[in-house]
Symmetry: C2
Subunit: 339 residues, 2 copies
């Protein structure tokens, strides 16, 4: 296999399938330092935008008004498992704003966390929006609307001030014209934003070194990234890459996955921002790609690489719990030659 732009899914000795990625590594000055494939590729950022989507929650003053803790704020950036620690906190956040989970408009899916799902079945309870992996994000949006005296009914619509503020923040933080951001509908019903990969990386780079922003935004960004790295279990949950990654990162890295193979990282130490898009959309390739990029950039020590091994080279198991293959990143980042 000549093509180096990929991750192999190996079964035994043979490569069974493979994934291509586009990757951008940008510094907080906005320079593209490394790339793979096409860093200009415009992609739906999906849930990787959740940390930015929480900026208005803090900037408006809503988060402080409702006594948001780090864990509360981290949950508002989450694609959570639906474990009790997540759903209990969603209820708590909404209650403080005089709301409850009936206000959530994120739709319904089986909780990611098996035990939660089993418990609901055993107790004959309905699966509600509370268990939706985006219920934290939606809670942040609802609480902001409530605080601002805006309607809590249609907060998910593009025209609603909550979504308009988010759109502006994404445009400003990622330094990409609002008119160029393509809007689609996300898995949970709110607008989803398409930007070039390098702009996503730049947004995360700026969030890693937020002095570039005015005081209000700097404060908001710091609250959010500090919350994510302080309460990583909120952002994903048990056995989730975001959580394990930020735990291993010990406060230095913040990261967020997006559906369809998106992963974004900010490094508070170097101010680097990284954005990965798996071109076929398969999320299984996101974590090997993300860890491999960090490894190639020399940003993880051996201990951290060890901790993240299961995400770097995910094993493929069969139903007899036998290891029958693995995902193996074999790509090489290109150092970008800037004109």
């Amino acid at each position: 296999m000549e093509n180096r732009d990929l991750i192999e899914a190996k079964r035994g000795k043979e490569v069974e399938s493979y994934h291509h990625m586009n990757i951008a590594v940008v510094d907080s000055k906005g320079d593209l330092l490394y790339h793979l494939g096409d860093p200009e590729h415009k992609i739906y950022a999906r849930s990787s935008m959740k940390p930015l989507q929480a900026i208005p929650l803090v900037e408006t003053g809503a988060a402080d008004y409702y006594y948001f803790s780090d864990a509360d704020l981290a949950l508002c950036t989450a694609s959570h498992n639906g474990e009790p620690m997540h759903t209990d906190r969603v209820i708590s956040i909404l209650k403080r704003a005089g709301l409850d989970d009936s206000y959530l408009r994120c739709g319904i899916h089986n909780p990611r966390w098996e035990d939660t799902y089993r418990k609901l079945i055993l107790e004959g309870k309905e699966i509600t929006s509370l268990y939706n992996n985006c219920s934290g994000k939606h809670s942040g949006m609802l609480v902001t609307a409530k605080y601002m005296g805006e309607s809590t009914e249609k907060y998910y619509e593009l025209e609603h001030p909550v979504q308009q503020r988010i759109l502006s923040v994404i445009s400003e933080v990622c330094d990409y014209p609002k008119s160029e951001i393509a809007i689609g509908v996300d898995g949970c019903g709110v607008p989803v934003h398409a930007l070039p990969i390098k702009n996503l990386a730049y947004g995360f780079a700026r969030m890693a070194k937020p002095n570039i922003f005015d005081d209000k935004r700097k404060y908001a960004v710091e609250c959010i990234t500090n919350a994510m790295v302080s309460a990583p279990e909120m952002v994903g949950g048990t056995n989730r890459f975001c959580t394990d990654f930020m735990r291993a990162g010990k406060g230095r890295f913040f990261g967020k996955a997006g559906a369809e193979g998106v992963y974004c990282i900010g490094d508070k130490e170097t101010g680097l921002g990284i954005a990965v898009k798996v071109l076929d959309g398969n999320g299984r390739a996101s974590s090997p790609a993300a860890v491999e990029v960090l490894a190639q950039l020399g940003l993880l020590n051996n201990n951290q690489l060890d901790q993240l091994k299961k995400w770097h080279y995910p094993k493929l198991f069969n139903t007899r719990d036998e290891v029958i293959g693995e995902l193996n990143p074999i790509f090489q980042l290109n150092k970008t030659v800037n004109a």
Copy 2:
């Protein structure tokens, strides 16, 4: 997007992700008529080999000895949902051979059929191998071992006569040297076979026109393909492509999916065999690819295309049940120029 070798996953107006395929269309003389990408690509055929894996079950005489009906035989080629119609029949098949589901070594996974899963939880029952989507295939293997007086303990091991017979059948039907077939371990613990895509297509073409085989094999192949098209609900189940496809095919087409984006079809009328491999392994692209190939070859009438529309252009839904995108095959098969 210049590249025509693909299926687009569209969200709103933008292409979010895309899938590349390798495809071979071979006639029963063995000529490669059409292709996409690399038809020589050697791939793990995965469950698409299940119809061939059932040939020894009939050839040895086991199926007739144990009074196998069409539905029984179809189930032995299945990646079934684990609906009651499937699991009841697995029990019945095994019972006739003096066995029960404790003999199954296919490992455990949550039943694909949600209602079965919920029922097991509510009744406090364990999920056992019975519910594994391969339990029909494993039942066929067990029954054959029992009939032949072979061990029912290690029937899943490559060295066991059951697996050796299967390996020979695959080699002979697909006309590919046994020594060249790469062996890996399948999701359910038995050997899985890697052959070039064009040989998989050739195998299905020959099964579509089995006069090429000796009487014993011809009989076995006809029993199996007739069983699949007579009892398509056994091969997959409710809301499954294999089932819906063979229903629409009205006895003319037999088809079988394999994990990691594999799909194989035989057309009893033209004797054509088709094999599709989605290169990144995403099964969501299998059915759009399969239907699109048949459409381009002019093998489906408008009524059938209509019936299969949801598989041809699968809609993408969000958790609010809104349609937010679709999978859209935009590839064009190449007519193969034979030297």
